[in-house]
């Protein structure tokens, strides 16, 4: 039996797949096992195939693989959709009493467990608990202590009353004992438990938690998959720290509300996805020209236009780097794992205030809506530092007033960073505008002042390039001939792919880049490598283009844009192939 175990529940949207999967993931986490989840879902409330998948191991799991050991199938389509991932000996739990499942297409080489999920659930108190019966059956197959499932059920249903919790526990036990009593079979799976305590969270939640930790007190947003979870996380929590979440009428409004709050001095953010980024582009230049700190989270999904709203893609890199008319100074930060979503959010707020400009914080669907386990101290709140940049109070104002005693919000400085004072500060009243302006923030078309202000804003970026580390994350053998470069959420799959490649005797150096702009200089690493492979979830290789331009060298590309994230085993095979038969690259 491999060290990892791969489990899934699938059915139609509306079947409660998501909460069923989450309950089992929590049970595994409670049992001290590491968990990495993924979702296949369609953009519908009901109907259409959806699945929740869990990869679990006693050791770290950072990726999904193309292998499924146990499948709870509520529909025949669930089996069809996963046929390629199932293998000889895979267990399929299904309810043969359900009309559509009577002739469930269970392949001969697999173990079909016909369990009357609905009937047993009704015996325990209601048909709605049939998925929990299935979870109990899964406990039997995996010799997994059912007490861990109990505690996950308490967490899920505790607020709705003890009776409901007890009914669910009973439902789980009925599923468990049905399998034990009916099937005399050694399933060869035994999920070991440990005493470790892990937390289980997704990227959107990590971003929301990072925002609160960083002092964000104002969030305005418009619901959009897959960014809505950020808003839902903050709602009900940010208020406890004196903050507020507002659901705007559209993304145009959302970014402007956040901008208004930021002008008032709040650490403010909005989060959206591609279609919202397009709308927000309208005011993006205003944020930068008024030199207002703002964090805009872009949780990418498949585009263009409405694209595939519930599918993975990293296609917005160019939109974030170049979006908006005119020349707009901005930073683009792309955390590479769920715990980094937390830390990079904190950093994004500091960068925004230190350099008084918009910061794109970007994750993607696969990282945003899927969970992973971590040691709690991966989110050590004592390590959170807040730097509000050049903020001046009433006493500090005088230095920045002109001879008439007027405060200069766009004062020209050596590092390009002007002082900032907040509304309500005595003698600090000032305006600013999206028009080109002078140091007082008033409109100007003076040719010299135009150049001075453009240069000043650009100088902030140069200052940031010098002052901040913009460090990449390094993995593997620094002397390896093969260099893999990637950005954003592909890190976990690549790290696991490297372990598989190492077993084949292939050493790889991997540079995982969390900063798109400014970004680390990879010139030496590229010079030193024989093969350079840039891995990303888009069709054209937007990041690879940047790397080529920076290094004045050609790179090979591994692109995926079918809507599904990279998987470790598939990626290992692709890297192996690329290394053994390098693509012809025109020089």
């Amino acid at each position: 039996m491999p060290a990892d175990f791969n489990w899934a529940v699938g059915g139609e949207a509306g079947d409660g797949i998501d909460s069923t999967g989450k309950i089992f993931a929590q049970a595994l986490s409670r049992a001290g096992r590491h968990v990495f989840t993924s979702k296949d879902f369609a953009s519908r409330i009901r109907g259409g195939y959806t699945a929740y998948k869990i990869r679990t191991s006693v050791g770290q799991v950072r990726s999904v693989v193309d292998r499924l050991d146990l499948l709870i199938a509520l529909t025949p389509r669930t089996i069809e959709e996963n046929r390629d991932e199932l293998h000889d000996g895979s267990v399929i739990i299904y309810d043969g009493e359900r009309t559509s499942m009577q002739d469930a297409p269970i392949p001969d080489s697999m173990v079909g467990l016909d369990v009357p999920l609905k009937r047993l659930a009704e015996e325990a108190g209601g048909a709605i608990m049939r998925n929990v019966v299935a979870l109990g059956a899964a406990c039997a197959v995996t010799e997994f202590p059912i007490e861990n499932l109990d505690s996950a059920l308490e967490k899920r249903f505790g607020a709705k009353g003890q009776k409901l919790v007890e009914n669910n526990k009973e439902a789980a036990r009925k599923g468990q004992s049905y399998v034990t009593d009916t099937y005399d079979h050694d399933f060869e799976y035994a999920l070991e438990t440990t005493d470790n305590d892990y937390v289980l969270l997704n990227g959107d939640e990590a971003i929301g938690m990072g925002a609160i930790a960083a002092g964000c007190r104002f969030y305005a947003g418009y619901p959009i998959t897959p960014a809505t979870n950020v808003m839902e996380y903050l709602t009900g929590r940010i208020e406890q720290y004196g903050g507020h979440v507002v659901q705007a009428e559209d993304e145009l409004s959302a970014i402007n509300m956040a901008l208004g709050a930021a002008r008032a001095g709040a650490r403010a953010m909005t989060a959206t996805s591609g279609p919202g980024i397009d709308l927000m582009a309208e005011s993006f230049g205003l944020v930068a020209t008024t030199e207002t700190p703002l964090v805009i989270a872009n949780i990418m999904r498949s585009g263009p236009s409405t694209g595939m709203p519930t599918k993975q893609e990293q296609g917005d890199l160019n939109a974030m780097l170049y979006g908006g008319h005119g020349e707009i100074p901005r930073f683009v930060v792309a955390p590479t794992s769920i715990d980094e979503c937390f830390w990079k959010t904190v950093e994004a707020f500091n960068l925004a205030e230190q350099y008084q400009l918009p910061v794109y914080l970007t994750a993607d669907l696969s990282m945003a809506v899927t969970e992973r386990t971590f040691e709690p101290d991966a989110f050590d709140m004592d390590a959170v530092e807040i730097d509000r940049g050049k903020l001046v109070d009433e006493e500090g104002l005088a230095e920045w007033q002109n001879e008439k005693g007027q405060f200069q919000p766009h004062a020209v400085t050596d590092d390009g960073i002007s002082p900032r004072t907040l509304p309500g500060t005595a003698d600090g009243a000032h305006m600013t505008t999206g028009l080109e302006h002078d140091e007082l923030g008033r409109r100007t078309e003076d040719t010299e002042m135009r150049v001075t202000q453009v240069d000043k804003r650009e100088r902030k970026v140069e200052t940031a390039k010098e002052r901040e580390a913009w460090e990449a994350r390094e993995f593997g053998d620094a002397d390896a001939d093969t260099l893999v470069v990637s950005w954003g959420s592909n890190e976990g799959a690549i790290v696991e792919a490297m372990e598989l490649l190492a077993e084949e005797g292939i050493d790889v150096r991997f540079i995982s880049v969390p900063y798109i702009f400014p970004r680390p200089d990879l010139g030496d690493a590229i010079d030193d490598a024989e093969d350079v492979l840039v891995v990303e979830c888009n069709s054209t290789g937007q990041f690879a283009d940047l790397i080529e331009r920076d290094a004045l060298a050609r790179v090979d590309r591994i692109n995926k844009y079918n809507g599904v994230r990279f998987k470790a085993d598939e990626l290992a095979a692709e890297i192996e192939q690329a290394v053994s038969s390098p693509q012809e690259v025109p020089q």
């Binding site: 938690m209 208004g260 709050a261 309208e282």
Partner: protein, 287 residues
């Protein structure tokens, strides 16, 4: 109220570039007087302006101010007020800004009822782009882009506001300085979204909706038995096809403003220099 703030304190040292005779001069004077009369100062006032001739107002007034992009003044202003409820927030824009490109925000700002003032300088024309039809232009008003008139009825902003659940709807005329100031002042004092549509004539591009027209035609509800707290009274004047009115047309003092409904009373700019003390609780939630 305040003894030491005069309305001229709200005047910047920048000379307006509005055309001589523009209604916006009077509109702005009334706004400054209303702010001073209600005890505000430039240091606690935040003015948000849209795009158009009216949008220049942030430059000519002295206060904290933000001149945004076209049509988005209302969400900007709402964000300012929500983040710091201690500020007096006033948004100003034109009829194009508020009723055309920004009309979606207008409806939702009315519904949201944030405690702020919204002054629309309505001249029924696009002036800054030199004379095209606006959403409040008359059906037969001939312009460079509508040689035979827009051939569609003008937007009735007062009716839009009423149907969206407004808590304060008023209309004034920039040239009637005293009444205009009184009306804007009532909007500032209103605990909620105080909306004032101000007839602010364009002397360069609009020869129909002129000073003379408004002087002759406007009926002041203050001189009638109009009861602004009676929604049917309000409907009658707002939907009257024959006459136009000035004064406070509708007011609902029962409705709670957004901030009160959502318990917003903290200045969100004030935060600790690290994560909140009990922030590890947020992590523990994920056990």
């Amino acid at each position: 109220m305040s003894s030491d703030v005069r309305f001229t304190d709200f005047k910047s040292d920048k000379q307006p570039t509005w055309c001589p005779g523009c209604g916006d001069f009077g509109t702005m004077n009334g706004m400054m007087k209303a702010l001073a009369n209600t005890g505000n100062s430039p240091d606690n006032t935040f003015v948000v302006a849209g795009i158009g001739c009216s949008g220049k107002i942030g430059t000519y007034m002295h206060s904290y101010a933000l001149h945004g992009v076209h049509g988005r003044a209302l969400p900007l202003a709402a964000g300012v007020k929500m983040a710091n409820p201690d500020l007096e927030v006033m948004a100003a824009g034109g009829d194009g800004d508020g009723y055309s490109i920004g009309v979606g925000h207008f409806i939702h700002a009315v519904r949201r009822n944030v405690d702020m003032t919204y002054v629309v300088m309505d001249n029924r024309i696009y002036g800054l782009t030199k004379g095209q039809a606006s959403p409040t232009s008359r059906e037969d008003f001939e312009t460079s882009t509508t040689p035979e008139g827009p051939k569609q009825p003008p937007v009735n902003p007062l009716a839009l506001a009423l149907s969206a659940g407004a808590t304060f709807i008023a209309q004034s005329f920039s040239s009637d300085a005293m009444r205009h100031t009184e009306i804007v002042q009532e909007a500032v004092e209103h605990d909620g979204f105080g909306f004032v549509n101000v007839f602010s004539p364009c002397v360069t591009f609009n020869d129909v909706d002129t000073y003379d027209y408004f002087r002759d035609e406007l009926v002041d509800v203050g001189e009638t038995d109009h009861d602004p707290t009676d929604i049917e009274n309000a409907q009658d004047v707002i939907l009257d096809p024959e006459k136009e009115y000035q004064g406070v047309l509708y007011r609902n003092e029962q409705a709670q403003a957004y901030g009160a409904q959502h318990g917003l009373d903290d200045n969100m700019a004030e935060i600790p220099d690290g994560a909140p003390e009990d922030a590890m609780d947020l992590v523990r939630e994920f056990y």
